[in-house]
């Protein structure tokens, strides 16, 4: 039989091997030769710290006592991994996006970067996990004791061994766990060490299993027979425990600080998670494959009363397989040490970031602007935390006496950390979850856990008296720790889990519903819940007060000079500047806060930046301002829209005006040539006839009279043309004198029609309604008459119907008399309608020799008379409407 000393020697060699591997990995990573270090295999194996010594040794013992129930501890995590898409994917994404350093940091960051919440979670984690560390120490010393022989004490003191193991683990963790400050950076040394250890423990357990099945039982068939004839040969699992333990292990898998460390914080690539989603269940399956056979053979071979927890060791030893037993010992040793290292690292990060640093910052007053290198403080805090936590574990081990109470701590610890679950899942899926709600849930769950699970685990009389166990505190039997509300007969673990988690969740939800989150909480909540649609960015800092120098000084203290300068230089370059100091833009401050939070946690980083920048980044006022701003923007855009509509209208009017002007200009040109022609024609004939009269001898009287009358006619035409032009000019210049008098409309119309028809070549049929015309007007009757004559003669000239008809109608309204002159000719073309009232306007085809001034004159007259003249296209022709005020 191998001596304890030899075994200690093996352990030492193994530990030195681990140190070497870790050291090599750190070197390789530092040189940038990560290679296989960053492979999904390493990630998957690092997850195996879930399988602690408690599961390595304990699973067999568990199986020997309760059969298949042990497997629930593996089923929960398997389900979580297979369902990675639902929760883990989101957790990992949030962890990367927010640079989360621990489970406490996650919860604190989600609920408005609240440090109080972080402290509560940290304390709960320390209380829940420290006994678990003690359990690991115990398992290693127990296994050592097995090798020292049945009497066990000649050369070996268990507490002494535990002490030295604790010291060794502390050194390892300090050395490789605090090498760099940024917990978001991978601890390559540690990760590779635990990956190797994961391999060792799997190989060890499988080796023992293979030896048991094929070496002792003689194959699978005989093994199965032996299983069925063994004391655990019948299915005897309590359904409650089956369900509860599966759920519990799933919850613990997500919430255990060490699992969070390897799953989320150490994750470098989301694809690794996808691979691990099936590879890790495979690992768990292999780890539990031979548990039942080993338990059955152990029960069979070992003398009654031997500890089934150590069958993994004692069975090979009893068969004389020293090598196998040593391998098995190393497996257990690996399980214990890897768990302690990672759990301690995770807890130490939480303690230093959320308890030590805030206290230190507040003691040293001005937070960020303290002198000296803060990094040393943080690293010192973290190293101290590591030693304190391992020290706690050792102390707990010594105090509890290493008895059976410790063995039960595994599930108790699970229930403890599972209290984080409501706040965690609520935080990443429900935006309505508030800080107060999370805090209430955690505290309620924690109190019930301590009272119903942790304290009773020490047994009656240890902390809680027997009296309390049997009758409840102060004799209130409803409050008995193992039968809350008087519900008896429940399994203790199930009882504690159901009550604590139910009330925890209840408090969390109800208080969340009742309270109102502050703005930062709401923004963080939105960021967490909507992490996949990454358009929601927290509204950042208003960097009016912070100067780049201050930020630089602070960052150097936390990130180290090189890193900080790199960060600043990269940012400066991104902003297109030279040198080291970028503008403190919002984006940069956000980025900086994330970088800092990777070192000191979200709450502390937030506090430090806010001290420099002055005040929290998001206040209600800020939010109001944002809301106001958007309202203003909305209004402004409305105004712009209105204005642009207005502009469009104006532009349209201008375009119309331009068209009109162009048309007029064309017509004016046409008119000028026309009028010269018009003037010229009579002048020519006057001149010619005058010359004939002058020069030709012997003209007859008749001829002379004829020629003179032609000259006379032409002169009249010229005079009329000139009269019209003069008239228009007078009217336009406003020099006209109106001769206002009373008169009847019918008379004016009568006169106009008579006058017009007296000179007409064609007869126009005029239809009137005399009754309507019997109204008295007070206006310049002569001018009105002129307008009427003009309209009637126009109709005579231009109406091209076979039987030209003009209908004169009078319409009366309160203020206006409208006289409608509607003919049945061809309507004026649309293109000409706009200009018919303009001077010089003539309808092109018209060849009737008018100068195109008539309607312009009418328009001017009507304007002078305070009325108007309009053109309306009629169904059967044209209509001009003359409006007069009454």
């Amino acid at each position: 039989m191998t001596s304890v000393n030899q075994l200690i020697g093996v352990s030492f060699a193994y530990v030195i091997f681990l140190f070497a591997i870790a050291f090599y990995a750190e070197r390789a990573a530092a040189l940038g030769r990560r290679g296989w270090l960053g492979s999904p295999l390493v990630y998957t194996l690092s997850l195996s710290i879930y399988c602690t010594a408690w599961t390595f040794y304990g699973a067999v013992g568990y199986a020997a006592r309760s059969g298949m129930e042990f497997v629930t501890i593996y089923l929960g995590p398997s389900l979580v991994m297979i369902g990675w898409w639902w929760v883990l994917r989101k957790l990992v994404r949030i962890g990367r996006a927010q640079r989360v350093t621990s489970v406490a940091d996650l919860i604190s960051a989600r609920y408005g970067k609240s440090n109080l919440l972080a402290i509560v979670v940290t304390i709960m984690a320390v209380v829940g996990v420290t006994p678990y560390i003690a359990l690991q120490l115990q398992s290693v010393t127990l296994s050592l004791a097995i090798f020292s022989g049945p009497d066990g004490t000649n050369s070996f003191s268990q507490p002494g061994a535990a002490f030295w193991i604790a010291v060794g683990l502390a050194i390892f963790t300090v050395l490789f766990g605090t090498r760099n400050l940024n917990t978001n950076e991978r601890h390559d040394g540690i990760v590779i060490a635990i990956a190797v250890e994961a391999g060792v423990k799997l190989v060890a357990l499988i080796a023992v299993g293979v030896f048991v099945v094929w070496g002792i039982a003689g194959g699978i068939g005989p093994m199965m027979e032996r299983i069925d004839t063994s004391p655990i040969g019948e299915w005897g699992v309590d359904p409650n425990r089956w369900v509860a333990l599966t759920a519990l292990s799933a919850a613990a898998f997500l919430c255990l600080p060490r699992m969070f460390q390897v799953l989320v914080v150490e994750n470098q690539d989301e694809r690794h998670l996808q691979i691990a989603s099936w590879a890790f269940p495979l690992y768990l399956m292999l780890m539990s494959l031979f548990v039942v056979p080993i338990a059955v053979i152990g029960l069979d071979l070992m003398p009654a009363g031997s500890n089934p927890d150590l069958f993994v060791l004692t069975v090979p030893l009893a068969e004389g397989q020293i090598g196998l037993a040593t391998l098995s010992y190393l497996g257990g040793f690996s399980s214990a040490t890897s768990m302690v290292i990672v759990a301690t690292l995770a807890l130490a990060t939480m303690v230093s970031n959320h308890i030590v640093m805030p206290v230190w910052l507040s003691v040293h007053g001005n937070g960020a602007s303290v002198s000296g290198d803060v990094r040393n403080v943080i690293i010192f805090a973290r190293r101290t935390s590591i030693m304190v936590i391992i020290g706690f574990g050792y102390l707990y081990y010594r105090l509890s006496g290493g008895g059976a109470a410790l063995a039960a701590i595994g599930l108790i610890s699970f229930v403890g950390v599972a209290q984080f679950l409501p706040a965690m899942l609520g935080g990443i899926f429900w935006r309505g979850a508030t800080r107060t709600g999370a805090l209430s849930g955690l505290i309620v769950g924690f109190i019930i856990w301590v009272y119903c699970s942790l304290l009773p685990s020490f047994g009656p009389g240890a902390i809680l008296s027997l009296e309390i166990f049997e009758n409840g505190p102060w004799g209130v039997s409803l409050l008995r720790p193992l039968a809350l509300y008087g519900i008896e007969g429940m399994d203790a673990t199930v009882h504690a889990m159901v009550w604590s988690l139910t009330l925890n969740t209840f408090a969390f939800i109800v208080i969340s519903l009742l309270t109102f989150p502050d703005p930062l909480e709401r923004l963080q909540g939105a960021q967490f819940v909507n992490v996949f649609n990454h358009s929601t960015q927290t509204r950042g800092w208003e960097a009016t007060l912070a100067t780049s120098e201050d930020l630089m000084i602070m960052s150097q203290r936390i990130l180290g000079p090189t890193e900080a300068q790199n960060l600043f230089r990269v940012e400066a370059r991104k902003q297109g500047m030279h040198g080291y100091l970028p503008e403190p833009t919002q984006a940069f401050l956000q980025n900086l806060e994330r970088e800092l939070s990777a070192s000191v946690g979200a709450a502390t980083a937030h506090a430090m930046i806010s001290q420099l920048v002055g005040g929290a980044s998001v206040s209600v006022q800020d939010l109001m301002a944002v809301a106001d701003e958007s309202a203003q923007i909305l209004e402004y855009s409305n105004q712009l829209e209105t204005k642009s509509d207005e502009l469009a209208r104006t532009a349209r009017q201008l375009r119309d005006a331009n068209d009109k002007l162009t048309a007029l200009s064309v017509q004016k040109d046409a008119f000028l040539s026309q009028i010269s022609h018009e003037l010229r024609t009579p002048m020519t004939s006057i001149r010619s006839f005058a010359e004939i009269l002058l020069d030709t001898e012997g003209l007859g009287k008749l001829e002379k009279t004829e020629y003179a009358s032609i000259i006379h006619g032409e002169t009249i035409r010229l005079t009329r043309l000139l009269d019209d032009l003069l008239d228009l000019s007078v009217l336009e210049n406003g020099q006209v004198n109106l001769n206002v008098e009373n008169g009847r409309l019918s008379k004016v119309l009568e006169k106009a029609i008579l006058t017009a028809q007296a000179v007409a070549i064609r007869q126009l049929k005029v239809t009137r309604r005399h009754l309507d015309e019997a109204i008295t007007l007070k206006t310049d009757l002569d001018r009105l008459n002129q307008v009427f004559i003009n309209l009637i003669t126009n109709a005579q000239k231009y109406c091209d119907a076979d039987e030209p008809t003009l209908t004169v109608e009078v319409l009366l309204s309160d203020e206006i008399v409208s006289i409608v002159f509607a003919d049945n000719g061809t309507p004026i073309p649309v293109s000409s309608r706009a200009v018919i009232f303009e001077k010089f306007a003539r309808i092109e085809e018209a060849e009737s020799g008018g100068a195109g001034l008539g309607l312009a004159i009418c328009k001017e007259i009507m304007t002078r008379l305070g009325g108007d003249i309009r053109y309306v296209p009629n169904l059967s022709g044209n209509a001009f409407i003359v409006d007069l005020p009454r």
Partner: protein
């Protein structure tokens, strides 16, 4: 269950297949949960009043490990078939995040 290698004119169909495989991936834990909850209905050795013989531990072991194996197999196959879809999602999102841009 073959993965169309090129996104040719059957893009529609392959997209559909991918989506359904995504569904399967999401539902896998539910299947696992149901299958592993099933043992609570087994007759146990604890209540002897039951006429049925309790399930033997060897069958229980075989059942639990069989379910495990099936889940692992399905999970790995689905993940393999969906690797392009998942990859795309991961990389595009992460690029965006690491630089700390304000999203697209």
């Amino acid at each position: 269950m073959s993965m169309p290698s090129t996104p040719s004119k059957f893009l529609e169909q392959s997209g559909y297949r991918q989506r359904r495989m995504m569904d399967a991936l999401r539902l896998l834990p539910v299947l696992g949960l149901l299958l592993w909850l099933f043992p609570i209905f087994w007759p146990t050795g604890l209540n002897v009043s039951n006429n049925n013989d309790p399930v033997s531990t060897s069958s229980a072991v075989i059942y639990v490990f069989l379910v495990w194996g099936i889940l692992i197999l399905l999970s790995s196959i689905l993940r393999w078939c969906l690797r392009h879809t998942l990859e795309q999602e991961t990389t595009t999102d992460l690029d965006d995040m690491d630089v700390g841009k304000t999203g697209q």
